[in-house]
């Protein structure tokens, strides 16, 4: 499936980027396509494109703070979790996402 995501943490220094890496790794290993935008202390990087959002089956938001541009995902299936959860068990989280998107 196609996943788009946003990662953001309180300080915007470390957890944001660790969460992104873990998400990318777990999703790709499970055979999904994924794009993750980071909103950190130096601003937004790897901005999601309209096209990526349009194509996405699901939006995952791994954030400890309010993210910018949430309205972009209006009408999309969206899963919101704290960064900790993604950092701690990324594979389990992707499984959960799979279940939500395509219930068995």
């Amino acid at each position: 499936m196609n996943i788009v995501g946003v990662a953001a943490c309180t300080a915007g220094i470390a957890h944001t980027y660790i969460a992104k890496e873990k998400l990318m790794k777990a999703a790709q290993e499970a055979g999904h396509s994924i794009f993750v935008e980071t909103q950190g202390t130096i601003g937004t990087q790897d901005n999601l494109t309209e096209e990526q959002i349009k194509e996405a089956d699901v939006v995952v938001i791994a954030a400890d703070v309010k993210i910018n541009g949430k309205n972009r995902f209006k009408g999309k299936k969206t899963i919101e979790v704290p960064t900790d959860l993604v950092i701690k068990s990324p594979n389990k989280f992707i499984k959960k996402v799979e279940e939500v998107v395509a219930p068995a």
């Binding site: 220094i13 470390a14 950190g40 950092i87």
Partner: protein, 163 residues
């Protein structure tokens, strides 16, 4: 994200800011010990002010990532140079962690309050990316010398987006 040259990490990771033989056995002690290294290395104007900012961040949530690693960090007006200090310990140090286990490797991020130098932050991101790699974490925890730690960070071939 821009691909970074491996050599660039040497801008934020210095040998004198690393110890593979932490003396402290408590979380607070470790933060003080690593802060001492930063202060002696000329990276801070005020130790106490920096420590205060680090503990402010600690209050907001666990900085133990699991797998025996913790990343306390302070973005503080007392930071002169954005750097990371690394401490490895033979002891298990109690720390609020995602897996509720103690830690053996602590990476303390000292970040300038208004870091005009975006490169520094990009370098810290590169460090954060390494921390998502379990193989890297294992090697870090088992590092025996300061040189080995430097090598791990600067010679790591893994790049953003490659698995």
């Amino acid at each position: 994200m821009e691909q970074l040259e491996t050599i660039d990490l040497q801008k934020v990771i210095k040998k004198e800011l690393i110890t593979v033989d932490l003396e402290a056995t408590t979380k607070e002690g470790v933060i003080y010990e690593l802060t001492d290294l930063l202060y002696e290395g000329g990276c801070l104007t005020d130790q106490e002010a920096f420590i205060k900012d680090v503990f402010l961040r600690e209050k907001e949530g666990a900085t133990g990532l699991g797998n025996g690693i913790a990343i306390p960090h302070g973005k503080s007006g007392s930071v002169l140079k954005t750097r990371i200090a690394v401490g490895i310990s033979k002891n298990n140090i109690s720390w609020e962690s995602l897996d509720d286990k103690p830690v053996n490797a602590i990476i303390l991020f000292a970040v300038q309050d208004s870091d005009a130098n975006t490169t520094h932050i990009l370098l810290l991101q590169q460090v954060a990316i390494f921390l998502a790699d379990e193989d890297f974490l294992e090697r870090l925890k088992n590092a025996r010398s300061e040189e080995e730690v430097i090598e791990l960070f600067t010679k790591n071939k893994k790049r953003n987006g490659e698995y």
